[in-house]
Every structure is written in structure tokens, then in C-alpha cells.
């Protein structure tokens, strides 16, 4: 493969002013290109934001109409009709979640996200997220266990974003663990820094992840099985966003897993106190 020559080597006889002038012109051109790329990126983000809103609106109407039918508000429906309509609603809600992920990722790329901080209890967050999933857990025949250290201090951080991380990790655990399996949340102080860092684990007895893929799964749009016929679908952004949110707090997220041995996802959150 031949090298592409980007500029001529400077001649010893070439006056320095000519060389400086050429460099200045190259710099100006680079700056112009950077500006153009930034403008295009902003346009892309605006487009994604608009299209997300425009996708949400008809989906909201579809889901609302389907719920009106499912709940018999316009008249009785048979059991089979109700099951069919429920599938429309589940599919619609999955699409809404995916649109929200794409929008969040697009916004973060152009205008980095910031934390909206408050003081909150990890106990309450875990209770809130797990209780929302109880019907899914029962439906799949999973067992969901909580191990929460009673001495956990209040954490100062962005509650919505921590809820998002936990929801994502638990959602994956439920999806990839077959019926009869176990999913657990364990929260306590980190053994590495028991004064300042909270360690939260979401574990499952599901199919596990090969060590080769432990980094890949946190990359944007990455899916371990990328074939069109894969069994599990999604934007491939869930764990990328989770990692982003944890890192915004100054924490770390990782997975320990082997194929067939279940998975254990961990993330840390520094305990910040008012004014820190």
C-alpha cells in the first residue's frame, strides 16, 4: 500500500514566511472543517430530537387506543382479543424505551449531560426499581432477591440517572435469565474503600457473557449477537448509557461473567456529602 503524500517536505531554500503562511492557511482550513462538522453534528442531534418527538406522538396514540380496547372501555373483549391487544401495548412501550435511549445518546454526543444532584437513599431506589418489576419477575417465574446493607449512608447524586442504571441492569438480568432462575441486587459499602464508595451488584443465573465480550457490551451499538435473527433486540445503547451515567458520578461499572455461569454486574458510586 502506498503512502498518501499530504504535503511537500519543506525546502531548505523556501523562505520561512511562505512556510508560515502555508501553515496558517492549513490551520484556517482545519478550523473551518471543524466548525462545519460541529454544525452538521448539531443538525443531526436536532433531527434525532425532532424525529423522536414525532415518533413518540403516534406511538402514544396507538398505546392509548389499544389500552382503551384492552380494558373493555368501549365494550367487552374476549380473552384472546385481550392477549393480542396486550402484545400491541408491550411492543409499543418497548419502542418508546428505545426512542428514549436514542434521544439521550444523541443529546449527550452534542451537549454533554450533567448531573442534577440531590441526596437520596439507595434502599429507596432499589425498592422502587424492584417493585416496578415484580409482575415481570412473577410472569417469568424468576426469584428476585435483595441484599441491602442496613448501614448504607445517603448518597448525593442524580437520582433519575442512578434509577436508569439499575433499571437497565435489572432489565438485562430478567431478559437473559430463563424461568426458574435467580436475579439479585446487593448493595453495601465497597470493600476497597468502605468509607467513601458504595458498591452495587446486579447478578443473575442466566446464560452469562464470554470474557472476550466484557468490554464490547459497553460500547455504543454493540451487541454480542449482531445477526439479524438474534433472539434479543434493542438499540445496543443501554449499557453505554449506564456506563456514561456511572462515570458522570465518578464511579465505575464492570461485569464478571463466564458463558453458562450467570453474570454479575457491579457499579460504584462515591458517597458525596452536601457541599463536596
Amino acid at each position: 500500500m502506498s503512502e498518501v503524500e499530504t504535503s511537500n517536505p519543506p525546502s531548505r531554500l523556501e523562505p520561512a514566511t511562505d512556510r508560515i503562511s502555508a501553515l496558517e492557511s492549513q490551520l484556517a482550513e482545519s478550523q473551518r472543517l471543524i466548525m462545519e462538522l460541529k454544525e452538521r453534528d448539531a443538525l443531526k442531534t436536532q433531527f434525532l430530537s425532532n424525529i423522536s418527538h414525532d415518533l413518540r406522538t403516534p406511538l402514544t396514540a396507538i398505546i392509548t387506543h389499544a389500552e382503551i380496547l384492552r380494558d373493555g372501555i368501549l365494550g367487552d373483549v374476549t380473552m384472546k382479543q385481550r392477549e393480542s391487544i396486550s402484545t400491541i401495548i408491550t411492543g409499543g412501550r418497548q419502542l418508546l424505551d428505545m426512542i428514549a435511549e436514542i434521544l439521550m445518546h444523541a443529546r449527550d454526543s452534542s451537549e454533554p449531560l450533567t448531573l442534577v444532584e440531590s441526596e437520596f437513599s439507595i434502599h429507596e431506589v432499589v425498592e422502587q426499581v424492584t417493585s416496578l418489576n415484580e409482575s415481570l419477575v412473577a410472569k417469568k417465574g424468576l426469584s428476585l432477591e435483595r441484599y441491602l446493607s442496613p448501614s448504607l449512608p445517603a448518597v448525593r447524586g442524580d437520582r433519575d440517572k442512578v434509577i436508569h442504571v439499575l433499571t437497565n441492569l435489572l432489565g438485562n438480568a430478567f431478559e437473559f435469565t430463563p424461568g426458574g432462575g435467580r436475579v439479585w441486587v446487593d448493595a453495601g459499602m465497597s470493600p476497597e474503600d468502605p468509607e467513601h464508595v458504595v458498591l452495587i451488584e446486579v447478578g443473575d443465573t442466566g446464560r452469562g457473557i464470554a470474557p472476550d465480550h466484557h468490554e464490547l457490551i459497553f460500547r455504543e451499538f454493540a451487541q454480542v449477537d449482531s445477526s439479524a435473527s438474534r433472539a434479543h433486540h434493542g438499540t445496543g445503547l443501554g449499557l453505554t448509557i449506564a456506563r456514561r451515567f456511572v462515570e458522570l458520578h465518578g464511579g465505575r461499572i464492570w461485569v464478571e461473567s463466564e458463558l453458562g455461569q450467570g453474570s454479575r454486574f457491579f457499579f460504584t458510586l462515591p458517597v458525596k456529602r452536601q457541599g463536596e
Partner: protein, 120 residues
């Protein structure tokens, strides 16, 4: 007499679904599709409940509450409708005087229950 609901929502797809739902629940529903229209209808109809989309084509939906308030009228209950679940949006709506913030799409039984409780 049926309780009056002012539904402020600019998307015909969404307001037609919510109007159908609330009318099935026995409410007298009027739709406003802009902030301007909502302010006029709010003062004219004096609704028991207002369902307020906070993103409207001509103004911030919360401006409707401020205008009605300045004219000396406050609906029995006002619920903000939004597609954003973040706590910033929530605080903004509650500070403006909304009784609660509902994330679209609101489960239909939940919406009927909330509106029924508000007029009980």
C-alpha cells in the same frame, strides 16, 4: 351534570384518544390545541379538571396556568402531561401549580381514576 375537563393537547392523534377515553368515563370534555385557546376556554368554561400538555405550538403549556391564575381562576385540579420523566420537568410543573405530573402515555385506567378522584 358531568364534570368538565379541559384537555389541552396539540396532537389530534393523542387528544382524540384521550377525549374518547374521558367521555367514556362520563366526563364533559373540551379540547384546546394551543396555549391561547386554552387560556380563553379556561376562563370561559371554568373546568373542574385541566389536563395540560406542557409543550404547545405557540407557548409553554405552563403559561396557561399562570394566565388563568392572574385572572383569578384556578381549575379544581390540573395535571401536566409530558413525555419527559426527569425530575427537573417534574419540579417545574409542580412549582407552576400542577397537582401532579403524568408521563405520556398515561395508562388509561390510571388516568380515569386520577380524574375521577379529582372531581369526587
Amino acid at each position: 351534570m358531568s364534570a368538565k375537563v379541559l384537555l389541552v393537547e396539540d396532537s389530534p392523534l393523542i387528544y382524540s384518544a384521550l377525549k374518547l377515553l374521558l367521555e367514556s368515563g362520563g366526563f364533559d370534555v373540551t379540547v384546546a390545541t394551543t396555549a391561547k385557546e386554552a387560556k380563553e376556554l379556561g376562563l370561559e368554561l371554568r373546568p373542574d379538571v385541566m389536563l395540560l400538555d406542557i409543550t404547545l405550538p405557540d407557548d409553554d403549556g405552563l403559561s396557561v396556568l399562570r394566565t388563568l391564575d392572574a385572572e383569578g381562576f384556578k381549575p379544581g385540579a390540573t395535571f401536566a402531561l409530558t413525555g419527559h420523566s426527569d425530575s427537573e420537568t417534574r419540579s417545574r410543573c409542580l412549582e407552576a401549580g400542577c397537582d401532579d405530573v403524568l408521563l405520556k402515555p398515561v395508562p388509561v385506567k390510571q388516568l380515569l381514576r386520577i380524574v375521577s378522584e379529582a372531581v369526587a
